[in-house]
Amino acid sequence: MPRRRFWSVFPASAREATDAIVANLLLHAFPARMRVRSLAWTPSLWLGTVSWVLFVSLLVTGLPLMVFYIPSTREAYQSVKDIEHVVSFGWWLRAAHRIAAHAMVIAVTLHLARVFLTGAYRNAAEREQHREWNWVIGVSLLAATVLLSFTGYLLPWDQLAYWAVTTSMNIVASAPLVGRSIRSLLLGADEVGQSALMRFYVLHIVVLPIAVAALFAYHMWRIRKDGGLAHPSEAREHQDALVVETIPTVVIRVAVVTVATWLAVTVLAILIPSPLEEAANPLLTPNPAKAPWYFLWLQEIVADTTVRLGPFTINGALVGGVLLPVALLVVTTLWPWLDRSPASTAGVWMPRQRRTQLLVFGALAVLVVGLTVVGLLRGPSWHFFWPWQPWPDMPSRF
C-alpha cells in the first residue's frame, strides 16, 4: 500500500492510539485525543503554534549564521558583509532569520492579544486549573521574545544597530535608582562597545533561547494540565467532549501550520533584503536615529512627552521609556487577578460582560499601533513625512 511508505501508524483502538503518542519522543507533548473545537481555527488562530515554528526556524537559520559571524567590534561588520555577499545562501539565511524574528514578535503579541480577547486565562472548570499562571508565563515569553530580537539587533554592528541600542540604553539609564546599574550590567560599560557586543551575543545565542525553550515547555505542560483551550462549558464537557485522535488529524493540522509558516518565511526572505548600513561610528549619529520598530511607539512618546511646567521638567525618557512600559507590563502580568468578569466568559471572543476592559484594550492597541506607524513615518530631524512625501536628499560624499 503506497500510504504505508509515508505513514506507518494505524491504531486499531483508542488504547493503541494513546500508546503510539506516549511512545514517540516527538509526539508525546500532544494529548492522545484533542477536542474538536480546540482543533478549529477560530478559538486560537493557531498563533501559539506559529510562534513556536518561528522560534524553531530562528534556531535553524541562526546556527549556520553563528558559524560565520564574529562577535568582535573589529570584525562583526565585515563578517556580516561576507554573510551578505559571499557565503552560499548567506543573504537568505540572514533575511530569513530577520524576517522570522520580526514575525515572532508580531505572532507572540497577537497570541497574547487573542488570549486576552477570549479571556482564555480563566478557569471555567475550576478544578486543578491555573491558567492565570500560564498567562504570566506567556507574558514572560513575550518579554523574552522582544529581548531576543533586541539583542540580535546589535550584532551586525552597523549604524542602525549601534544607535538603536545606544538610544534604547540611554532610555533605560533614565529609570530612577536602578537605571544606570541596569545599563552598566547590559553594556559592561557606560557606552556600547566590545563588552556590550559580547554580552548581547551571549544573551542572544545562549541565555535567551534556553529561557524561551524552557518557558515554552512549561507553557505547553500547563496547557495540558489545565485541560486544553479554555471554553465556557469545559466543566460540563469534561465528561462528554467531542474529540478526534491526535494521529493523524492533529499531526496533519500542525504540519499545515508549520509548512505554511516556513513557506512564508522562505518567500519573504527572498523578496525582502536585509538592510546593512555603514559600519558603526560612535562619533556620528544617523539622522533619524530610530529604536527597533517594536519600541518606536515608546520612542514617539519619549519624543512627545518632554514637558516643562515652570521650574519642573517632566523627563520624556522617564515617562515614555520607563514608567509607562513598566506600568503596562505590571498591569498586563497581573490582569487575570484584576479581571472580575464571570468565569463563564472563558474562551469566548469579546463577550459583552467585559465590554469596558475590551474598549480600554482596544483604545490602547489603536494608540500603540498608531504611534508605531507615526514612528515608522518619521524622517530626518524627526519630522513627519506621509508615505507619498519623499524624504529630503541625505548628504553624501559625491
Binding site: V244, I252, I270, E278, R397
Partner: protein, 413 residues
C-alpha cells in the same frame, strides 16, 4: 479516564488539511527551488563563462582551463579590505581584450606595472564596494556605501566635460599627496600650484604646515557629509558639490567667513575641489606609499630667505609671523603669499580703512585681523605695544624714504 465521544467524520475539522498540506508542500518546494536556482546562477557566472569561451576560441582548451571560476578576491591586508571586483572583471590582466565591453576589458597595462593589482587591489584607486559581487552593490551606487565607483556617469554629474580620469585623480593623490608634481594627474598638479600661489597655508594647515585661522585641511576629504552645513547650497547635498560652491564664493555658503573670494576660473575650482577631497587618510596609505615622500617640508630656498629676513631691520615682523601675509617693503621683508596690505603704511592706513588709529586698531582689531588675532597670533598686551612701536617705526622709515625722494614701496634689492 473521562468518557468522550469520537467526532463523526463529517463534523471533524481538518477535512481539507491533507489537500492544504499537499499544496503548501508543493509551494515550498517551488520556493526552495527558486532560491537554489538563484544561488546557483549568480551574475558573475555568465561573465566568467563568456571569458572562458573567448579564451578557448583564441588560445585553445588549455588556456581556457586557467580562467577563474567562482568568487575571486584580492585581500588588501593593510586595509582589512577584500576586493572581489576581479570576479567579474576577470579579463583585467589578460591581453587582447582592450576593446571588449566591460566587465571583460583589459586594464590599461602601464599603470598596473607600477601599481600591481595583486598588491593594490581595485577600490583604493577606483572606489566602490569591494565586498560585493553584484554590479549595483559592488559599484557602490547604493544607500549606505559612502565611496561610489568613480565612473563616467558620476564624473559627468560632478565635473561635466572633464571625464572619469580627472575625477579619479583625487584617488591618486590620496597616496601622492606630498609630491609637488605627479605624472598623470594634471588637475591635481594644477591645484597644488594654485595652493602655493594663493598662499592657502597662511590660514589653513595642509600637509603638516600652515595657519590656524581657517579649518585644518589635513583630512578634509574624510569629513563626514553629515557634518557640512548645506543650508545655503542649492540642489543635492554632497561634500564634493559643497567644496565646488565654496571655492566659487566662500561667503555664499558660510556667511561669517573671513576667507576671501579668489575668483578662481572654473577649471581651477574643479582642480581645487579634487585636491581637497583627496586629503583623506585611509588605512592603506602607509603600506602603499613605498618610496613616495611622506612629508611636505618648507622649501629650502624659502627657509633660507626667512632666516635672512629675520636678521634684518624687519626681523620682528618675520619672527612674529606677520610676513606670511604682509610684506614690509621699507624693511625688505617679503611675503611668500602677500594677500595682506604692505605694513609699511599700516600706521596711517588703519585710519583710512577702519577709522581707527593704529594703536586702537592693534588693541581692538576689525575685519580679517580680528580673526587673525583671535585664532592664530594671540599677542599679549606687551606684544601688542611692541607691534604698535614696530608699525610706527616702519611708517617713519616710509616717510623718511619718501622725503629723500625715493619710492619706499619699491621691492628691496
Amino acid at each position: 479516564m473521562p468518557k468522550t465521544r469520537r467526532a463523526p467524520e463529517a463534523s471533524t475539522p481538518g477535512q481539507m488539511d491533507r489537500v492544504a498540506l499537499a499544496c503548501l508542500a508543493v509551494a515550498l518546494a517551488v520556493a526552495t527551488g527558486w532560491l537554489v536556482y538563484g544561488e546557483a546562477s549568480p551574475e558573475y557566472a555568465g561573465y566568467q563563462r563568456s571569458l572562458r569561451e573567448s579564451i578557448r576560441q583564441r588560445l585553445g582548451e588549455a588556456a581556457a582551463a586557467t580562467t577563474p571560476t567562482g568568487i575571486q578576491q584580492i585581500w588588501i591586508a593593510q586595509a582589512g579590505d577584500a576586493n572581489r571586483c576581479v570576479t567579474c572583471h576577470a579579463a583585467a590582466t589578460w591581453r587582447g581584450f582592450e576593446t571588449a565591453a566591460e566587465p571583460l576589458r583589459t586594464h590599461p597595462p602601464d599603470i598596473l606595472r607600477s601599481h600591481p593589482v595583486e598588491r593594490f587591489g581595485c577600490t583604493p584607486c577606483h572606489g566602490g564596494q569591494g565586498w560585493a559581487v553584484d554590479e549595483a552593490r559592488a559599484h557602490g551606487r547604493v544607500a549606505h556605501w559612502p565611496e561610489p565607483l568613480l565612473d563616467t556617469p558620476l564624473a559627468d554629474a560632478l565635473i561635466p566635460g572633464a571625464g572619469r580620469r580627472t575625477l579619479m585623480e583625487l584617488r591618486c593623490n590620496v597616496c601622492h599627496r606630498y609630491e609637488r608634481e605627479t605624472a598623470g594627474t594634471p588637475a591635481i598638479n594644477r591645484a597644488k600650484r594654485v595652493l602655493e600661489q594663493k598662499g592657502c597655508r597662511a590660514c589653513h594647515r595642509v600637509n603638516g604646515r600652515g595657519g590656524l585661522i581657517g579649518p585644518d585641511l589635513e583630512a578634509i576629504g574624510d569629513k563626514n557629509p553629515e557634518q557640512y552645513d548645506f543650508s545655503r547650497l542649492a540642489g543635492r547635498p554632497s561634500a564634493f558639490r559643497w567644496h565646488g560652491a565654496h571655492f566659487q564664493d566662500p561667503r555664499a555658503l558660510v556667511a561669517d567667513t573671513v576667507m576671501p573670494n579668489f575668483h578662481f576660473p572654473p577649471d581651477e575650482i574643479r582642480a581645487l575641489t579634487l585636491l581637497a577631497m583627496s586629503w583623506k587618510r585611509p588605512a592603506f596609505v602607509a603600506a602603499f606609499s613605498g618610496d613616495l615622500p611622506r612629508s611636505d617640508p618648507q622649501p629650502e630656498e624659502e627657509r633660507r630667505l626667512v632666516e635672512e629676513m629675520g636678521k634684518g631691520p624687519g626681523g620682528w615682523f618675520v619672527r612674529t609671523g606677520c610676513y606670511t601675509c604682509h610684506p614690509v617693503a621699507v624693511f625688505g621683508v617679503k611675503s611668500p603669499t602677500p594677500i595682506g596690505p604692505d605694513l609699511s603704511t599700516a600706521a596711517e592706513d588703519t585710519e583710512r580703512r577702519f577709522s581707527r588709529p593704529i594703536d586702537v586698531f592693534v588693541r581692538n582689531p576689525a575685519g580679517t585681523m580680528r580673526a587673525v588675532f583671535a585664532r592664530q597670533f594671540m599677542l599679549s598686551p606687551a606684544e601688542k605695544d611692541e607691534a604698535i612701536r614696530q608699525l610706527r617705526a616702519a611708517f617713519a622709515q616710509y616717510e623718511a624714504l619718501r622725503a629723500a625722494g625715493r619710492n619706499p614701496l619699491e621691492p628691496a634689492k
